[in-house]
């Protein structure tokens, strides 16, 4: 499933245009990413939890080890129940 499918479904379910759906989705994602950068943790009801953690160190050639922050996602119970039904 792509973003296009997501937009179409949102527009059809809520009786709005595809352009509006696209804008709304972009606003939601931008807001989530901004808050993630600020707080480092975000919880979305009935969906899951986003947290920023550090990955294992990696090397690029002879450079020193670099750590890289990583976004971790913990799904909610409802999410998992829907998947495993």
């Amino acid at each position: 499933m792509n973003t296009i499918d997501l937009i179409n479904k949102v527009s059809v379910d809520n009786a709005i245009t595809a352009g509006r759906a696209e804008m709304i989705i972009s606003i939601v994602i931008e807001r989530i990413s901004e808050k993630l950068k600020k707080d480092g943790v975000i919880e979305i009801e009935n969906f899951g939890k986003f947290t920023i953690t550090s990955k294992k160190p990696f090397k690029v050639g002879d450079s020193p080890q670099l750590f890289r922050n990583h976004i971790q996602f913990d799904p909610d119970k409802n999410f998992l129940d829907n998947l495993n039904v």
Partner: protein, 613 residues
């Protein structure tokens, strides 16, 4: 609190209710969940991917294979870079530090100077540098960073290079002239005054060595390929760094914008000042802002107001109405579509005109209706008021009472004519004879004045009617009989006329008693009774018709009879008589009743006629 903020934003920007915005917010995530369930992958641009993973789980709630589904999130590189950019603490760690991964912490403390971290993209390879182990000191400068900076500057320079420098690339390739000429921008043009003849030394013509055909082609292709490839890379780098979520779906719009921007640049005309004459400016102002008119009157036609459309120099439309010196309007172009304001104004004015004309029509019609009604009503009133006069003139029959008074009453016999003279002779004899002195009726003075001498004859004739038929020779013999009769009768006659003369409006004549009030004659019959002689007609049919009309009134005691009277030269007349009464009073009463009923019937008929008419 994130949800509330997003819902507020959505409701504000898109003019939706909070309920609708919440529903959309929830639907987004529910659709992602359903997509993950169906397709096992959901790719959200500029955010990441949600992928299903199978983990070992309990047999009860797991799949048939004993695995349990979970969801993993893979963020995009851009997001990760942004997240890593925002970190103010350690990025480069020496091996001395423990291998435990530090947790990302939020720092609200003042940020110290940190080395700039290169933005890694999927396409760019990480810079390969040889870095000595260095402690974390933000003040020190790393050679790696210097090289990265230099490369970044080179890339940015390439992107921001002016247009004129582009042909250098072709010169470097060995070509003397570019394939196409590049126009110089107008802004860079110098004014005419400042231009001076500058002698420029032409560069020496470098004649390249003659190349083989194959080499020529290769060199040309390389130059052509290499030059734009570098430009493309720079542009791509720019695009990727600047692209947002919506750019993937709005690329077409940007292309359109670029094309539209180019078109706008070409169509924009520079403002020209002090070129338009003031007269034209005034004209334009007159058209766009016409003077307001006062004292609007109807039904005069008003000239339409000019539209707001521009006219004159530099106008894109070039259409509109022009107001001439005579305050008359004419249209420039007829092919132009009418403005909504014009149509509204004109339609309003036409409506007013229509209303005014209709009012005038109705007023004119009202006058006609009112005049006709007044005339009709006045006619009706006049007829009602003067109905008796009209009846007299138009409906009452012609009567000749005077002629009848003159002529004698006679039965319908042939002997009546020649007997007139005999009667006169008899009367003379009666008058001369002393015996017959008593025969003369006791006529009052009033009667004598009013009536001619024939009254005596009439009264005598009434008494002597049965004797008129007899010849002259028998008159003497009958005298004593007559005397006896007359002696007996005169006292009665003396009494009767005294009684009869007391009635108002009744006058005695040869015929009988004339009633001026009711226009009838009361005639005394042989049997001593009185009848009402209502009218006399010259034909049988008319008389019978009159009898029928009076009988239709249904008055008791008015039995109609007809009597024929031959008046000699004046023709025969048919007298209509009604009833027999013992006294004149009774007869008069009946006559009064008859006239009343007749009048009422006449009025009723008139009213019916008027109503039906």
């Amino acid at each position: 609190m994130l949800k509330e903020e997003i819902v507020e934003k959505i409701s504000k920007y898109f003019k939706l209710t909070t309920f609708e915005a919440e529903k959309i917010y929830d639907d987004i995530f529910s659709i992602i969940i359903s997509g993950v369930k169906q397709d096992n992958i959901v790719d959200v641009a500029n955010f990441g991917e949600f992928i299903i993973k199978f983990n070992k789980g309990n047999g009860d709630s797991a799949d048939t294979n004993g695995y349990k589904k979970t969801v993993e999130f893979l963020a995009t590189s851009k997001l990760e870079d942004e997240v890593n950019q925002g970190s103010g603490e350690t990025v480069y760690i020496t091996p001395s530090i423990s291998e435990t991964a530090p947790v990302f912490k939020t720092t609200e403390e003042p940020v110290t100077k940190t080395p700039e971290i290169p933005v890694l993209s999927n396409r760019e390879e990480p810079p390969q540098t040889t870095v000595n182990p260095v402690t974390v000191n933000p003040e020190t400068v790393n050679p790696v960073e210097e090289e990265l900076k230099k490369k970044r500057e080179e890339i940015l320079d390439k992107i921001t290079k002016p247009v004129e420098e582009i042909p250098k690339a072709y010169q470097q390739s060995g070509m003397t002239k570019p394939l196409w000429k590049i126009p110089v921008a107008e802004k860079d043009k110098l004014p005419v005054e400042n231009i001076k003849e500058e002698k420029t030394e032409k560069p020496p013509e470098v004649i390249p060595e003659p190349l083989k055909e194959t080499e020529k082609v290769e060199t040309v292709q390389e130059t052509i390929v290499n030059a734009p490839a570098e430009e493309k890379k720079a542009q791509e780098i720019e695009d990727l760094s600047q692209k947002t979520f919506s750019d993937f779906f709005t690329e077409l719009k940007e292309e359109n914008k670029r094309t539209s921007a180019k078109i706008e640049e070409t169509t924009e005309q520079p403002l020209v000042q002090n070129v338009i004459p003031p007269s034209v400016v005034e004209l334009h102002n007159e058209i766009t802002n016409p003077p307001v008119r006062e004292n609007m009157t109807f039904p005069t036609v008003e000239t339409p107001k000019p539209p707001v459309a521009t006219n004159g120099n530099g106008s894109a439309n070039g259409t509109g109405e022009y107001r001439a010196s005579d305050n008359s309007y004419y249209i420039w172009y007829k092919d132009v579509e009418a403005n909504a304001t014009d149509t509204q104004n004109l339609s309003f004015e036409y409506e007013l005109l229509y209303q005014a004309t209709k009012e005038a029509e109705y007023k004119s019609k009202l006058k006609i209706y009112v005049t006709t009604f007044i005339i009709f009503f006045s006619i009706v009133l006049v007829l009602l008021i003067f109905s008796p006069v009209i009846y007299k003139i138009f409906f009452k029959p012609v009567e000749t009472p005077n002629t009848e008074q003159v002529n004698e009453e006679k039965p319908v016999t042939e002997q009546t004519a020649p007997n007139n003279k005999a009667e006169q002779n008899v009367l003379k004899d009666a008058n001369t004879n002393p015996q017959n002195n008593n025969v003369t009726p006791p006529v009052t003075s009033s009667d004598q004045q009013q009536q001619p001498n024939t009254t005596q004859n009439t009264t005598q004739q009434s008494t002597t009617q049965p004797n008129t038929e007899q010849p002259k020779t028998e008159t003497k013999t009958q005298q004593p009989v007559q005397q006896q009769q007359q002696t007996s009768k005169p006292p009665e006659k003396q009494q009767q006329p005294q009684q009869e003369t007391k009635l108002d409006g009744v006058t005695q004549n040869s015929m009988g008693w004339m009633d001026d009030k009711f226009k009838v004659i009361y005639v005394k019959l042989d049997n001593g009774k009185y009848t009402i002689q209502e009218s006399a007609w010259d034909s049988d049919a008319k008389a019978n018709k009159r009898i029928g009309i009076v009988q239709s009134l249904k008055i008791d005691g008015l039995a109609g009879t007809m009597m024929k009277a031959d008046l000699g030269a004046k023709g025969t007349w048919y007298r209509v008589r009604f009833g027999e009464f013992s006294s004149l009073d009774q007869a008069r009463k009946k006559a009064e009743e008859l006239r009343k009923k007749e009048g009422l019937k006449l009025q009723a008929s008139l009213l019916l006629f008027l109503l039906t008419a």
